[in-house]
Amino acid sequence: MALPLHATTGERVWHYTFLTICVLIFAFLIIPILVILPLSFNAQPYFSFTPEMLSFDPEGYSTRWYEAFFNDSNWQKAVKNSLIIAVFSTIISVSLGTLAALGLSQKEFPFKTTIMGILISPMVVPLIISAAGMFFFYARVNLLGTHIGVILAHAALATPFVVIVVTATLTGFDHSLTRAAANLGSSPSNTFFKITVPLITPGVISGALFAFITSFDEVVVVLFLGSVHQRTIPWAMFSGIREEISPTILAVATLLITFSIILLFTVELLRRRGERLRGITPH
């Protein structure tokens, strides 16, 4: 991307214009997320900067919205629900998804595209349609308004991510390694645990994180399938935005951003580690 020494004036102008455009787009991407952080410390119940905040007067800032969040039993219950639902749906989707990915990565797999297409469909079908279908069906099997119902629904929505991520890990998988192990007299199960598992673990964990965040973030399905007993954080935020927008929502948002930063770095580290293990050098 560096500008060559022999660049013409026109090229120079274009180069800097291009960089400016890129900076503006990056700003568009990131400012909405950054702007939340200071606003969540607003001492006033508004969604905008007060004059005190702009003059960096400590009076303009307070942690009252964080206190409101930590002292409100509704929010606490929402956090608990979100965690319970996300953890269980992650367990289900990771176990089913990883098994399926192992099967799909076999060269001999018949009807691969069709089956893969079906397994990934929950990611593509508009959420409102999934939610509506599940609403009627779960009502019939008496799972409406239960944790189990929401967990199963979220697991279904999350498995495509696990399948995709683990399959991707397995694409770079060198099958001669397992064959070599077999040649050297290792039993299939021993090969699986000694060779396959360590190699796919990073993929499985990042698949798990994808699954976790899918459930943790999901609001449409839980709005349809859940009763007030399954109120999750996104649900509480959704109704909060529609009713009374208090900066408590921004405080929650800030906490969630911190959480996603942690997730983001974990996934990135895992991805690089996985590539190293499989001998793919990053470009």
Binding site: I33, Y46, S48, F49, G117, L127, L256
Partner: protein, 423 residues
């Protein structure tokens, strides 16, 4: 040569060919067994429920359930004759109606028929209330006259013909409504009048907004992907965080951020007023309309465009452009003739992905879209949870779903589903 291969045997004396086939079959079976649990899980918890819902788009058992004898009697009547149904049909209706009024189900049928013609809901409620008190012993007139005395609509052929039309086990009326069509009293299909036709416009608007969002994500995503693909790995990885952070941040967090930015007394308007670009009186309305939907959704979907574009651009060998330049092409020509054609696949992949995601969006338009920024999903949700017209919701859902499936197949042809990557 051929006889030689046949002669090859494994240690336990089976021909190698058979043995290989057997092991291949075993491998196939094992692979299928590994996939089976997830396949069944998706089938039961996901595909079957959706299929089951789509059936509701044609299901019409309610009329037969609530008016069992009337439906049988009505089958003999020909609405095209222009004559009112016979006395025995009015009697059957009175009997059915009394049972339904006592079971408190009659207003449900009124609600159902009201989807076809406005006025049926109040007609059935009113009739139900009267029939509950009705005593055939004390009746002095005929059943027909009695019903007409409750509401003169019972004296009209159209009333009977609508019930006649919607007395079957299945109906096409929800799909007709979803296309802004209706059946007139002769049973001919015609367009609805302009005041009540909304869905075609709504589909058009949804597609238009999705196109616009896809275009904007390409416009904003392309330079960023290009920059990231051409920078040194270290810088590029660092800048990648700016793309991935929004990607990993909750949808609702980003939507609330846009509310804080876009509202009348929000950050953007405040800034514009403070630096004097606009007056305090002429603050921009950027929320509760399509502008809000457009901005917020472009932001939310931009990473889905950048990531596939980036992975395609990564694979383009920089020496191609250098070769073009060395042969005398200007920077622009080299880009246009050599680099850009190589990225079309990436644009296609990202474009379809963004388009698929945006035509099904619900949450963001519901929160920032107002009236003209709402999409088809919002109407499906409205019909499921507010108007309770589940048949229409199913019909609209089926249309949306088929749109998405066509795009999904296109995506598969273009990129291959098994090549889908995340992050």
């Amino acid at each position: 040569m051929a006889s030689n291969t046949e002669a090859l045997k494994t240690a336990d004396g089976i021909s190698l060919k058979v043995s290989l086939q057997r092991s291949l079959r075993r491998k196939k079976r094992n692979a299928l067994l590994l996939v089976a649990p997830l396949f069944l899980f998706i089938l039961v918890t996901f595909l079957f429920p959706i299929f089951d819902m789509l059936i509701r788009g044609v299901d019409n058992k309610i009329t037969q359930e609530i008016l069992p004898t009337t439906v049988v009697a009505l089958a003999k009547w020909d609405p095209a004759s222009g004559q009112l149904p016979d006395e025995d049909i009015f009697k059957a209706f009175t009997v059915d109606g009394q049972v339904a009024a006592k079971a408190k189900t009659i207003s449900r049928l009124g609600k159902r028929l009201n989807y076809e013609k406005s006025g049926f809901s109040s007609l059935f409620r009113k009739t139900g209330r009267q029939l509950k008190k009705f005593d055939p012993e004390k009746m002095t007139t005929s059943y027909k006259e009695n019903l007409i005395s409750i509401d003169k609509k019972w004296g009209k052929v159209e009333t009977g013909s609508l019930i006649h039309r919607e007395s079957g086990r299945y109906t096409k009326s929800y799909y007709l409504t979803a296309f802004d069509l209706t059946q007139n009293s002769e049973g001919n299909i015609e367009w609805k009048d302009a005041d009540s036709s909304i869905y075609i416009d709504l589909f058009k608007r949804t597609l238009w907004l999705s196109c616009l969002i896809t275009f904007l994500t390409i416009l904003f995503g392309y330079p960023i992907a290009y920059l990231l693909a051409t920078l040194k790995a270290k810088t590029s990885n660092l800048l990648m965080i700016l793309v991935l952070l929004p990607f990993w941040t909750s949808l609702l967090v980003r939507t609330s951020a846009w509310i804080a930015l876009l509202q009348k007394e929000g950050v953007i308007n405040d800034t514009l007023v403070a630096i004097g670009i606009i007056g305090d009186e002429s603050r921009l309305s950027m929320i509760h309309n399509s502008t809000g939907t457009l901005i917020a959704m472009t932001h939310i979907l931009l990473p889905f465009m950048i990531l596939p574009l980036f992975s395609v651009m990564k694979t383009i060998n920089p020496s191609y452009v250098r070769a073009a330049r060395s042969m005398g092409a200007t920077g622009f020509t080299a880009f246009r003739r050599v680099y850009f054609p190589n990225t079309i696949a990436g644009i296609g992949a990202g474009g379809i992905l963004v388009f698929i995601l945006s035509i099904g969006f619900y949450i963001t338009p519901a929160l920032v879209g107002g009236v003209d920024g709402t999409m088809i999903s919002n109407f499906i949700a409205y019909h499921i949870s507010t108007s309770l017209n589940w048949g229409l919701a199913a019909a609209l859902g089926a249309i949306l779903l088929s749109l998405v499936l066509v795009l999904y197949i296109l995506y598969d042809k273009l990129v291959g589903i098994d090549n889908m990557k995340l992050g």
